[in-house]
């Protein structure tokens, strides 16, 4: 019986060692990747703000929303922690990678900040990019404007065309992720499209 109890310890401990949502704040293994509703819609990853931050841009023009809105906005990008760890090892994304683009309002002078821009509490948009082998092309885009779940954006669509034609790694804009670009270079995972674009840009200087 004691041996069984010890066996139980061995069996329990690795499970306890799995990601602890309440302690890491990063969601558990199930919550981390894409979760779908019964009818195949993607559920909004609720705790993406506790994921890994990749970058923040301001007033970038490749987002159709930002261009249309006509006022200043920030784009914050987050990725689920296990996909980030895989990228650090391989220079590319594993299946089930989930990237969240949070579009947030930008404020000018406020409180002690007298110039430049800071982020406001107002979220202007949420877009999610999921790598899932069951999707056509291996990746899907989803846009959330209020609802808790969203249908995949069907091809053809500008988002797929733009990411596939210009993104540095596996249809993702790693050229704007400052901690990952050098890693992708060293791992040799930069896309042919991106290398061609960079080569053309260098040649024109």
């Amino acid at each position: 019986m004691l041996r069984f109890a010890l066996l139980v310890i061995v069996l329990i401990v690795p499970q306890q060692g799995a990601v602890q949502p309440s302690q890491t704040g990063a969601g558990n293994a199930v919550a981390e990747g894409p979760n779908y509703t019964a009818n195949g819609e993607l559920k909004m990853p609720e705790r993406y703000r506790e994921w890994i931050f990749l970058t923040s841009g301001v007033d970038m023009s490749y987002s159709p929303n930002a261009a249309m809105a006509g006022h200043s906005m920030f784009d914050n990008v987050f990725v689920n922690p296990s996909a980030h760890r895989a990228f650090l090892e391989t220079g590319t994304w594993p299946d089930k990678t989930t990237l969240v683009l949070e579009i947030r309002g930008s404020e000018g002078a406020s409180s002690i900040n007298k110039r430049g821009h800071t982020q406001s509490p107002e979220i202007m948009g949420l877009e999610v990019h999921v790598k899932d082998a069951k999707l056509e092309g291996g990746w899907g885009f989803y846009e959330f404007d209020g609802p808790k779940s969203a249908k995949v954006i069907k091809r053809p669509a500008g988002c797929y065309e733009c990411h596939e034609g210009h993104a540095a790694v596996d249809t993702t804009f790693v050229q704007f992720y400052p901690t990952l670009l050098g890693l992708a270079k060293s791992k040799g995972t930069l896309s042919a499209a991106y290398l061609k674009e960079m080569g053309a840009a260098a040649g024109s200087k």
Copy 2:
């Protein structure tokens, strides 16, 4: 003996349940808080990019470095996960809270981005703000410009004066952390200095 073994389970499991560095990527419990060298210098938290992202600002004027450099920069702010969890519960920071300000270069048009600004791989500065009861005033600032450890900035200094005179919560600029400001309001932890400043700003409109 079996009872003892079960007691061991109970004692072991909570420890195994502590943050798992290899699984969360967020550092372990020891690495999370401030770590000091034998001579009392603060060690740079090496994995702060896996901590909780609070905000990113661009070209803000309250950073003396940004004002002096004269070109565009982003300020990214991260906090250790356990301090973030405590803030979500209490609206303020626990002892050993560690906030990292990463100052990063800003690029204009590059690759497919035709306007606005994106973050560059170049880190222009790293500043750390630590809550530690053993420090005068309960908080210390540290500036890292290359070395792996830094001495606390001695009082009096502009950083202390500015944070104590204007910061929304416990000498930290929660007014610029979009996910935390509303929480601090609802918990009643906004500083008297900040409330007075906001009241004066509203009154002058």
